[in-house]
Symmetry: C2
């Protein structure tokens, strides 16, 4: 994975000018990256309420003013219409286009939501010496829908999606305390151990991502996943919605440590 340690603003400028269009893993290490969801104002109240009621899968780090593409709290001067490498456009809940710039799609009634992501969380685990099997094995993290329901809000309802990481048994307590310090990056695990207890029937077959190989003594540990709000929003078939393309995140000016509560 190539590492680009320039400040976030310089990297965003390259993305804005079309000089970079790939996934953002490895860019501006140490800074918070975020998931993007853009919805019309008409849907924004329900989505904001859904995030308030489901903070583990939906850690909101920024909500723009109606019509404004500037995330002034986490990256003043940035433009969410141009500063992500790739976007997905959805109409009536169906993928309609994938683009590198959403200026032509922007409207005065749109609200952009930025949600904390697992990069912050995995950085904290690695920094604490907890191994990440999927990274060692060069795979995507494994994800499943669970039998745990989110608390509904208005038109939004659906199951919680989790990501799973095999953790050496002796490091499970450390994995819990380290991630608990970051409620804005999904926080502590939702579940440790038996996958069936949360409705996962086959740990070898994820619904998204790749199956990770367990090493002897590894225990499956499950965290709430940022795929949840996007899946829930699309399931309600909003007439219009924009998200980042998978892996093509927004890079904020916040150091990862800024999201730690203790």
């Amino acid at each position: 994975m190539p590492i680009d340690s320039r400040p976030p603003k310089e990297i965003r400028d390259d993305i804005r000018r079309g000089k970079f269009g790939g996934v953002t893993a490895g860019l501006a290490p140490g800074f918070v990256q975020a998931n993007l969801a853009v919805l019309p104002k008409d849907h924004a109240y329900d989505f904001l309420l859904f995030c308030q009621r489901n903070p583990r899968p939906c850690p909101l780090i920024e909500v723009t003013d109606v019509g404004s593409p500037e995330p002034s709290g986490v990256a003043p001067g940035a433009d969410l219409r141009t500063d992500l490498p790739k976007y997905r456009i959805y109409e009536d809940g169906q993928l309609a286009d994938e683009v590198t710039d959403i200026v032509p799609y922007w409207r005065e009634d749109l609200v952009a939501f930025l949600l904390g992501c697992s990069f912050t969380f995995e950085w904290a685990l690695l920094d604490a010496g907890v191994p990440m099997r999927h990274i060692e094995q060069g795979r995507n993290v494994a994800m499943w829908r669970t039998s745990l329901a989110c608390r509904p809000a208005g038109r939004f309802r659906g199951p919680m999606v989790v990501s799973m990481r095999p953790i050496p048994a002796a490091m499970v307590p450390k994995a819990v305390t380290v991630t608990a310090r970051f409620p804005m990056a999904h926080g502590a695990p939702l579940h440790i151990g038996d996958p069936a207890a949360i409705g996962i029937t086959d740990i070898a077959r994820p619904e998204w991502g790749d199956a990770a190989q367990f090493l002897p003594g590894d225990v499956p540990v499950f965290w709430a996943c940022g795929v949840t709000p996007q899946a829930v929003a699309l399931a309600s078939r909003p007439p219009f919605m924009i998200s980042h393309s998978p892996g093509h995140m927004f890079i904020t000016d916040l150091p990862n440590h800024a999201l730690s509560v203790i």
Copy 2:
């Protein structure tokens, strides 16, 4: 202070039936009490966004569905129209009435917000052995408007209000770590030491509450205060708003420990 250790539901039932009408300090110790703000749907989006942007003064623990007085997340079956001992009714930002039951004022377009309160926070400090001077001295906590601005959201803007507690110098780090674990009850202090640095000119004259007496070696420690959202909401002169009367809080079914992130 009289202590009533019955479960929250029994105490709420007494309040609902008019058998109890006083302040809620000392009731259901160990359970989270909450500030109430009720606004029309038309103002609810801005208020929800204001809370998202200012989590330290505005820790949202519950938002009801539009028109519903049931806080189903924190006290299923409770009724926010009858289960607080006393309410204040505001019209155009002015106090219009103080009542013990808001059934006659309830409307289908109202949304109720419950915000975490300093009781949880002071319980955590006392439990960790940090003395609370204002409690020892039988006074209310001292509060001030500061020169720190909240992040505006729609029609809501204004200064941060803080509460101040004198803390023995040797216990300041403990006071920080203990409260940091409770972001849903205002979290870690905003400021430690020099009051002038946050625009407080006279530490002996609070704007609300009583001045606490400092013991030798005590340091002033400032936390974001739940008066902030109410002051900010009223300053925008909403046509209609309801709040709890000071000290007459809503008692939830959540144990204080449920708000701890670690």
